[in-house]
């Protein structure tokens, strides 16, 4: 329209963006600066981290746990999305039940999960009833605890992946399925040659968004195992700040996580862009 409309638009963009940047980005920048401060500018904080075996465990878990969690979420989410969008199988009850774990606050899910997986919790109670040996699901430093963390994380977030994939499935034109049926394609062939290629943009989008989120895992680990059980970078940084009272080292650890998320996130976005160019809009 004209200059006054343009001026209003500028204000409308600048004010919210400055608010977000001032509240979230500037503190992170300050943290970056302080992470290089160890009684004066130095790399000492980072060197201390690299000499700490807990840091390397946290770094390893921070790759392993998100990777496992995203795979579980994706397989379960896809299975749910496919069954729930099949017309004969539509059920409001199942759909609501499938979404429920995401609607429940994360901390409530984790509280519950703790009572379920504790040594004398419900899961071991059920296992004992069948006469088998209870398992130490949350035992610190064990692969089993890593498995438990992955399962619980996926339990809360699978509905999100399911909803994203359902949205993708709904954009596939019914004519394609009709054509596949007329050509005599079976269930598997239809899935392989119609559903999967058409769903690819939604799959890539869901994997990237969930991957970025999964890398920042914090509360699942903290509530289930404490910061030492299955350390990840967020909880490692938290315990440096809260228990060890070493804020600058904590910031150094958090900056390494930020760097990791940024690299993987930007890489993911580049992949996503390629897919959206090939297949039309990205879900």
């Amino acid at each position: 329209m004209n200059a006054s409309a343009k001026r209003l638009r500028t204000v409308f963009v600048v004010v919210p963006c400055i608010f977000m940047i001032a509240t979230l980005v500037l503190p992170a920048m300050n943290g970056l600066l302080l992470s290089f401060d160890h009684n004066g500018p130095s790399l000492a904080n980072y060197k201390i981290l690299f000499d700490d075996s807990m840091f390397w465990r946290a770094l390893g878990n921070n790759l392993l746990v998100p990777f496992g969690s995203v795979i579980v979420e994706f397989v379960l989410g896809l299975a749910l999305a496919l069954t729930l969008t099949a017309r004969r199988n539509r059920s409001a009850l199942i759909e609501t039940a499938a979404i429920l774990p995401f609607a429940i606050p994360e901390i409530v899910i984790l509280t519950l999960a703790r009572y379920i997986f504790l040594p004398r919790g419900y899961l071991n109670g059920a296992i004992a009833m069948t006469g088998m040996h209870p398992l130490p699901w949350l035992s610190p430093r064990s692969p089993l605890a890593i498995f438990t963390v992955i399962v619980v994380d996926a339990w809360h977030v699978t509905p999100v992946v399911m909803l994203m994939l359902m949205a993708g499935l709904q954009t596939i034109p019914a004519e394609l399925y009709e054509a596949a049926r007329l050509d005599g394609a079976g269930t598997f062939a239809t899935f392989r040659f119609v559903t999967l290629p058409m769903l690819m943009p939604a799959i890539v989008g869901a994997l990237i968004l969930r991957g970025i989120d999964a890398l920042r895992i914090f509360s699942t680990v903290l509530v289930l195992t404490g910061p030492e059980g299955v350390p990840v970078l967020s909880t490692y940084s938290y315990s440096l700040w809260d228990d060890a009272q070493k804020p600058h080292e904590a910031m150094a650890a958090s900056m390494i996580l930020a760097l990791m998320v940024t690299i993987i996130g930007i890489g993911g976005l580049l992949v996503a862009r390629r897919f959206s160019r090939d297949d039309g809009a990205l879900a």
Partner: protein, 270 residues
């Protein structure tokens, strides 16, 4: 082939029902069971004794009551901050491609920031301003407001795009200023989405754990309080508190259902 698919479907549906319902049942059970019985081995699947004492203590203990009030206040204030700023951003994004590019890149940039990388240095800044760990929770409300702006903006963006430009142009010809057009035409037309944005941002704050844990160290909101109760073994009150915490979210999903589903995933973040 078809039979085995059907069997898989039935199994999946049963799994979903168990994963959603059994844990809630166990939580509800714990909230009305005396604590001694909750620690019994093997665990009781059905309570042998019932008590309401955990729910009574939620409202009788000062710490719990003030956490409920603080959580409500923080969620309400942050939802308003995020919806007002998000509406501004969404409107500009819906009307100009440059604004759209700036908006989307800021929003996706924010998503890349890990909570812990922001929260620790932010605590230092809040402390110098004097609102770290404040009893009113104002520092946390500001942070929650900022992290909820993407959710609000993405929810409202679609609504503003859907408003025909002709309506704005007609008002412009009648002599209305751009601000007035926004306030008296665009906002009322988008009111359903504004309500959705307010609800989503409220819930985002109500559920948020990480920032709340770091910014409100002693004047806690519900999620960190629940964390301490869970970790330090107050099973009964923790379960009662957890049940109360679920009320807003469950109401929203059951009552608003399908219309909210797309929006729920739009701004989901940890």
């Amino acid at each position: 082939m078809n039979n085995s698919l059907k069997a898989a479907r039935v199994a999946l549906n049963a799994f979903v029902l168990v994963a959603a319902v059994l844990p809630l049942y166990l939580l509800a059970k714990q909230s009305v069971t005396p604590e001694l019985e909750t620690f019994a081995w093997p665990p009781h699947w059905i309570p042998h004794h019932l008590t309401l004492s955990h729910f009574i203590s939620v409202f009788a203990v000062n710490e719990l009551r003030s956490a409920v009030l603080r959580s409500l206040a923080v969620a309400a204030i942050s939802a308003m901050i995020a919806t007002v700023l998000g509406a501004m951003l969404a409107h500009a994004m819906a009307r100009s491609s440059i604004a759209q590019r700036i908006g989307f890149s800021t929003v996706s940039g924010i998503r890349l920031l890990p909570m812990i990388a922001v929260a620790i240095p932010l605590g230092i800044i809040l402390a110098t301003v004097g609102i770290y760990d404040s009893p009113t929770g104002i520092g946390l409300a500001i942070v929650h407001g900022a992290i909820a702006i993407p959710t609000a903006a993405l929810t409202l963006y679609a609504a503003f795009v859907a408003i025909p430009l002709e309506i704005e142009e007609a008002a412009w010809i009648d002599g209305a200023s751009p601000l007035r057009i926004f306030l008296t035409i665009d906002l009322p037309m988008a009111r359903a989405s504004i309500a959705t944005a307010l609800i989503l941002c409220f819930i985002l704050s109500w559920d948020e754990f990480g920032f709340a844990l770091l910014v409100q160290q002693t004047n806690r909101t519900l999620p960190p309080l629940l964390y301490y109760y869970t970790v330090f073994g107050n099973v009964g009150p923790a379960s009662a508190l957890a049940l109360l915490m679920m009320i807003p979210a469950i109401c929203v999903v059951v009552a608003l259902g399908p219309s909210l589903r797309g929006a729920l995933t739009a701004g989901s973040s940890r």
